[in-house]
Amino acid sequence: MADVGYINQDSFLHRLDARTKLILMLAILVVVLVFTDPIYVIAILFLVLGAWKLAKLPLNMVGDIFKYFTGIAVIIFVLQAFFYPGETNLLQISNPIPAIGFSGYITLQGVMYGLALVLRLVVIMTVAPLLVMTTPMSDLMLALVKFKVPYRFAFILTTAMSLFPSIQNRAELIQQAQLCRGVGDFESGNFFVRLRASASILTPLILGAFRDSQILDVAMSSRAFGAPIQRTFLLESHFRQADYIFLAGSCLSLVGAVILRIMHLGVV
């Protein structure tokens, strides 16, 4: 099992306690959901990207995230631009169609809101890797436990995440084995041909996973997983000065965001 996504670097983000990072992430998510003005959201996005840079994480991964996201982004933007009930009409494209709630106009507010919504999602998608890539899975689990998440649940969550690379490895192995036996061409042919070929990977993959899970069950129980004893932990986590600074910063930005919102700033 691997530390999925973790990139071993020495940076301020790597050194922060996993609890601080979890709270920081939540604070950013809340703040970004408070504002609907794209300018504010862009400002937060730049903060997040700055953190990527400071954490010495590969920025080209952000590009990969955008690539997968473009299609959905366009759909979200267009829907908002058309259907958001705005006041400043920009462009009339048809007569009103009340049946689907379309006023016939694309409004400035609609465009702004659509833009903000897309940018919010970009922020959400760039914040999550920031946590995963700077925190070993074992630290993340400990943080969850310290937040009173039941150990069993925290363990299953982090173990399931770290299982992904090994499942991927196995899928590749099966694909190679099947190709050697002349089963399936996974790259060409129409949709149905490829679907049939993928069954030859998925069947052994799923059956193998079931068998492995039983061995895993035996191995885990044999190591006293679920013993009716108060569990102890080898790893420790301590707040340092930087953690307190970041926690204070998170609280201040939350309060600040709420105040701005009450003053009707940052909203379309």
Partner: protein, 283 residues
């Protein structure tokens, strides 16, 4: 000497089958004994291993009768995690029994579950890693190790939990010769240096002849022979009917005896064989 394991009349069948995997098996093991279990594939050796901590029948289901008591704890009355304090189980597939992000977390896992104080975990982690000869591997990823190293990590994992008994189910069957040798050497020291009771399932009869105190032969779910390596490996016909390959020195001696050589005691190790054949040459 006090018995650490008491197995009485166990009969067990897996779910959805009428054919018992284990058939009325009884034996007891005194503390500190090195017991080897041999038998053909599908004889029920692994199933027997899973009985010691209650994984059979708790995890596998099925019907079981008889009783298994280890360190005074009955597997019927105690859950697997409770039995785990007394029985350490190392399974055949090294990779599937390691599921933590690094070796340190892997070994600490069992100790943490048993609620050992942190200082003790650190001490046991250090001792276990030193014992299996993998100091400095604390932060390595278990899946990135060689098969032999993985199996030694698996041994360290159960060793750190301070069990009375270690059960090892074909720990070397998937390993290369060097990996096997290192694992077998570790197992020997578990018994000889630490005084742990060891139950080892293996096809390596050469190793068993040299190091085990006692051999159990399982065939078709039944215990067909129980004795010292010398007693067991002298029974050429029975071993061959169970499709078990005895040590090569024994096979040679069986053949020589058939040819009329005066061999009364079958040698079971190379040293014994050398002495015997030198005697034959000069005599």
């Amino acid at each position: 000497m006090q018995n650490i394991i008491e197995v009485a009349n166990i009969t067990y069948a897996y779910p959805r089958t009428d054919i018992p995997a284990l058939n009325n098996i009884s034996f007891s093991v005194p503390q500190g004994q090195f017991v080897a279990i041999i038998g053909p594939t599908g004889a029920g050796k692994s199933t027997l291993c899973y009985c010691f901590n209650g994984a059979v029948p708790r995890l596998f289901g099925g019907e079981m009768s008889g009783s298994v008591v280890v360190a005074g704890k009955d597997t019927y009355e105690n859950e697997i995690p409770v039995m785990a304090q007394h029985v350490g189980l190392v399974v055949q597939n090294a990779r599937n029994q390691l599921f933590n992000v690094n070796v340190q977390c892997e070994i600490a896992f069992g100790c943490e579950n048993l609620g050992f104080p942190r200082q003790k975990i650190i001490q046991n982690l250090h001792d276990a890693l030193t014992f299996v000869g993998l100091q400095g591997y604390e932060n390595r990823q278990p899946t990135a190790l060689s098969g032999g190293q993985q199996q030694r990590v698996a041994i360290a994992c159960v060793l750190a939990m301070e069990p009375d008994v270690l059960v090892l189910d074909e720990p070397t069957s998937e390993l290369d010769p060097i990996g096997s040798e290192q694992v077998m050497e570790t197992i020997t020291r578990l018994n000889r240096s630490l005084g742990k009771t060891v139950i080892l399932v293996s096809h390596d009869t050469e190793f068993i002849a040299q190091f085990a105190d006692r051999v159990l032969v399982i065939n078709d779910g039944s215990l067909v022979l129980d004795g010292s390596p010398r007693e067991v490996f002298s029974k050429a016909d029975l071993l061959s009917s169970c499709r078990i390959r005895p040590p090569q020195v024994c096979q040679l001696s069986y053949e020589l005896r058939k040819k009329g050589f005066p061999i009364t005691d079958i040698p079971i190790t190379i040293d014994e064989a050398v002495t015997l054949y030198e005697g034959l040459q000069h005599g």
